[in-house]
């Protein structure tokens, strides 16, 4: 039998056979059959990647928080806030590198606040991050005066709209974030401690793991990653919007949950999250391409997600 944690690797081997992966492949086959000329093109492939790139960054760090057994509801609001901040700094004439670094620092600090509330004050992650989410949104609105902050330098916008070879920059950044999170989760002691705390916090504590620090660090990662996502989003939109990142929250949690259906241990895996992202991305792209009525598209999205996930139940052994 295959180890859950003892062996690194992208983690595909740890995935339950079939399952949601089947659903994902099913979607690809479906759209390939229905619209081969459009869906199965390299251009469309790149488009899908680009469309989920920013969500991928947030989902990767959300994976970390969910590995330790918590949620971070503030990721979207934080991305918005950091995006507004970097835009403001740039508009006020700061050059891109320090502006980005400063903005990331804000992300890290915000993560530290969440981590402190959850790990040290012992608040439930839901309440704590819902509260900070509200505050971050208020701050973003206040700082931007509720309006779009625009007129950003090209050097910065390149981060969101440029390309590195054939790959859009957001895809490159997302790949780096996903790789970093994957490395942390599967190859480091910190990553194993995250899994242990998420699996049984008391057992981890009695094994000498500093469970508070471990949870705190998960929120740090989440804050930093959300901040980075906010920066790239602002570059992609060439403008800062006080609510631009908000939809990332539910979608990122959904991607991780979709991924969990592929995990044998019932804990999130980066590989699973990638499949979850793939489902979200392909479904949206495919239905757009099929030119389905927007409202019907929403109805179908729900139905198809249920179907895709239900497949994982077919391969489940009886309890």
């Amino acid at each position: 039998m295959i180890s859950h944690l003892a062996r690194p690797g992208l983690g595909l081997a740890r995935l339950a056979p079939y399952g949601t992966l089947l659903g994902f492949l099913g979607l690809i086959v479906l759209f390939s059959v229905l619209k081969p000329a459009v869906f199965l093109t390299p251009l469309n492939f790149t488009n899908v990647l680009e469309q989920i790139a920013i969500l991928a960054m947030v989902s990767a760090v959300q994976t970390v928080v969910m590995v330790v057994g918590d949620f971070d509801l503030s990721v979207g609001a934080l991305a918005s806030l950091v995006g507004v901040i970097v835009a403001q700094l740039l508009v006020q004439g700061m050059s891109p590198v320090p502006a980005v670094l400063l903005a990331l620092l804000v992300g890290l600090l915000a993560g530290a606040v969440n981590g402190f509330l959850v790990a040290y004050l012992g608040l439930s992650a839901f309440i704590a991050t819902l509260a900070t989410m509200t505050s971050f949104t208020g701050l973003a609105l206040l700082l931007s005066n509720g309006a779009t902050v625009f007129g950003l330098p090209d050097g910065f916008v390149w981060l969101g709209q440029g390309r590195l070879g054939p790959l859009p920059m957001p895809v490159v950044v997302a790949a780096l974030v996903v790789a970093a999170v994957w490395f942390l989760l599967s190859a480091t002691v910190l990553g194993r401690s995250w899994y242990a705390v998420g699996g049984n916090a008391e057992a981890a504590r009695l094994s000498g793991v500093n469970t508070r620090l471990v949870r705190f660090s998960a929120f740090l990662v989440s804050g930093l990653g959300s901040g980075l996502a906010g920066v790239v989003l602002t570059a992609r939109l060439a403008s800062g919007h006080p609510t631009a990142g908000d939809p990332l929250m539910l979608s990122s949690i959904a991607a991780v949950f979709l991924g969990i259906t592929l995990s044998r241990a019932g804990q999130p895996l980066v590989a699973g999250t990638l499949v979850g992202l793939g489902i979200v991305g392909v479904l949206n792209n495919g239905l757009n391409i099929m030119q389905v009525n927007s409202y019907v598209q929403q109805i179908l999205t729900g139905v198809i997600i249920v179907l895709a996930v239900s497949l994982s139940r077919l391969s489940r052994r009886r309890r």
Partner: protein, 500 residues
């Protein structure tokens, strides 16, 4: 030819596979009305798996279960209960947030009480049940606030309250002290008088000989034999279980050692009150006491798992009071906790990662884990402790109870402590392995480790310890030399108030 009635419960060719592995293989057994039938075997022999199939928790891959001669298909526990088959699972399965009374009657369909929740009636009925077991428990508090023994009693009461035609108990006494065990046996004997079929799984052979009418031995998932207890002796049973004769159960006592290592100075917690004692290099200190006397809490305070409300803990000249568990572990003080599932294991993780947890200081380089070292360490310990598993990558929730216990032990032994605190280390472990663990404890002591062992089995403490400290209601009532102490003298101290 006389027509005997069919056995109350029987199995025909019962088998169970997990994936490619057959863990119970072609087992045919008969359990008669009004008998107590002991089910014996090494850790991982398949006892609990048989029990689960009999009670509807899992379904057989092949073969069938028959009740009064007619086949029975149980697709869940409810159907088992409806047929009068009631099982107490090996692992505690209480709802920690519900009260004692609610746990006892949980899932029971009581005529006239199926819609409205009537807490007063429930408490009254629950108290009546607990009286049978001689227990007085606080009725209002959630069961998670009870001690491990008290929780076991709740689980027992839950099994006893349901009019069972077949009552199956999977290691009910693993964490009970003698007095609770006696109460339980009295109840079981009276049930036998009333014609109940009782299936009893245990690793405590003395109990089996005192209680059972028949014994079945299983090995490697197969039925070895079933015989009347009267025709058996312990050695026969042990050699049937482990496939060879058993060596000496307890090791010889310490000869040298004795320098003080760890000193508790007037520590106090919720129950523990003003306890001072010293652990010595090369010596094994047994800690005895009744359920809830604070034995576990004492170890938790020494290890840093719980903060002392008063007093100090000293390691040599080093004041450990207020230091974290991790800091104390680095200093060499290591606790093996009492409850393997809630405190010991990450159930969904593999054996290897459970062993690695807590050993990362030696299994990583610059914060990066070393899978190869993890695997090597796990393989070595699995061999050393004879953990029965398909591979070191198997998830611990797929292991038998005794093997889970060994994984917990393995993790902490690998820390190579200088002070080892063991809380019920042999809970659920088979006789063969128990002997090995006793010898292991002695070997560690001989290598200079200071050991403390909490156990509910006084004979075990008498066999393995050099000295025995006794707690009553959180206070120390005496420290005696194990070589000269007897079960009676220890029991006496367990009940006596400290003379301060």
């Amino acid at each position: 030819m006389t027509r005997t009635p069919p056995p109350r419960l029987s199995t025909r060719g019962l088998s169970r596979d997990y994936g490619p592995v057959r863990v119970v293989d072609d087992v045919s057994l008969q359990f008669h009305a009004g008998t107590i039938h002991a089910l014996l075997g090494e850790n991982g022999a398949g006892k609990s798996t048989v029990v689960k199939m009999l009670s509807g928790v899992i379904q057989p891959t092949e073969g069938e279960v028959l009740l009064d001669g007619s086949p029975l298909e149980l697709s869940n526990v409810r159907e088992g209960q409806a047929s009068g088959i009631i099982a107490l699972p090996q692992e505690l399965t209480l709802v920690p947030t519900l009260s004692v009374a609610e746990n006892i009657f949980l899932g029971m369909k009581r005529p006239g009480r199926r819609v409205l929740h009537q807490p007063r009636v429930l408490s009254r009925d629950a108290r009546a049940q607990l009286d049978r077991l001689g227990q007085k428990l606080p009725m209002g508090v959630p069961v998670r606030e009870l001690s491990a023994v008290q929780q076991t009693m709740v689980a027992l009461a839950r099994a006893l309250v349901r009019d069972a035609r077949v009552l199956i108990l999977d290691e009910p006494t693993a964490s009970l002290t003698d007095s609770e065990t006696e109460q339980l046996f009295a109840v079981l004997r009276s049930l036998r008088e009333q014609g109940t079929t009782i299936i009893y799984v245990s690793h405590r052979l003395e109990e089996v000989f005192a209680l059972a009418d028949e014994a079945t031995v299983m090995r490697n998932g197969r039925h070895v034999w079933t015989r009347p207890i009267a025709e058996l002796d312990q050695d026969q049973v042990i050699s049937a279980m482990i496939g060879r004769a058993q060596g000496q159960l307890f090791p010889d006592r310490a000869t040298g050692g004795g320098d003080p290592v760890l000193h508790a100075d007037g520590v106090a917690g919720y129950t523990v009150d003003d306890v001072s004692l010293t652990l010595r290099r090369g010596r094994v200190l047994g800690i005895a006491g009744l359920a809830g006397s604070g034995r576990s809490e004492l170890l938790r305070i020494l290890s840093g798992a719980e903060r002392a409300q008063r007093g100090r803990v000293l390691l040599g000249d080093d004041d450990l009071t207020g230091r974290s568990i991790a800091a104390r572990m680095s200093a060499g003080v290591v606790l093996v906790p009492e409850e393997r599932r809630s405190q010991g294991l990450v159930m969904t993780h593999s054996i290897a990662s459970n062993i690695a947890l807590g050993n990362y200081p030696s299994l990583s380089t610059a914060g990066v884990a070393s899978p190869s070292r993890e695997a090597a360490t796990a393989s070595r310990l699995v061999d050393d402790l004879q953990i029965r598993a398909r591979s070191i990558r198997q998830r611990v929730n797929e292991l038998s109870g005794g093997n889970q216990q060994k994984v917990v032990l393995a993790r902490y032994l690998e820390r190579r402590p200088s002070v080892l605190l063991l809380d019920e280390p042999t809970r659920g472990i088979d006789v063969g392995t128990k002997a090995e663990i006793y010898h292991l404890i002695r070997r560690l002591a001989d290598e200079g480790v200071a050991v403390a062992v909490v156990s509910s089995e006084i004979p075990e403490l008498l066999g393995v310890a050099d000295e025995i400290a006794v707690l009553h209601d959180g206070r120390l009532t005496g420290v005696v030399d194990a070589a000269t102490a007897t079960e009676e003298s220890i029991t006496h101290l367990c009940y006596r108030k400290s003379d301060r």
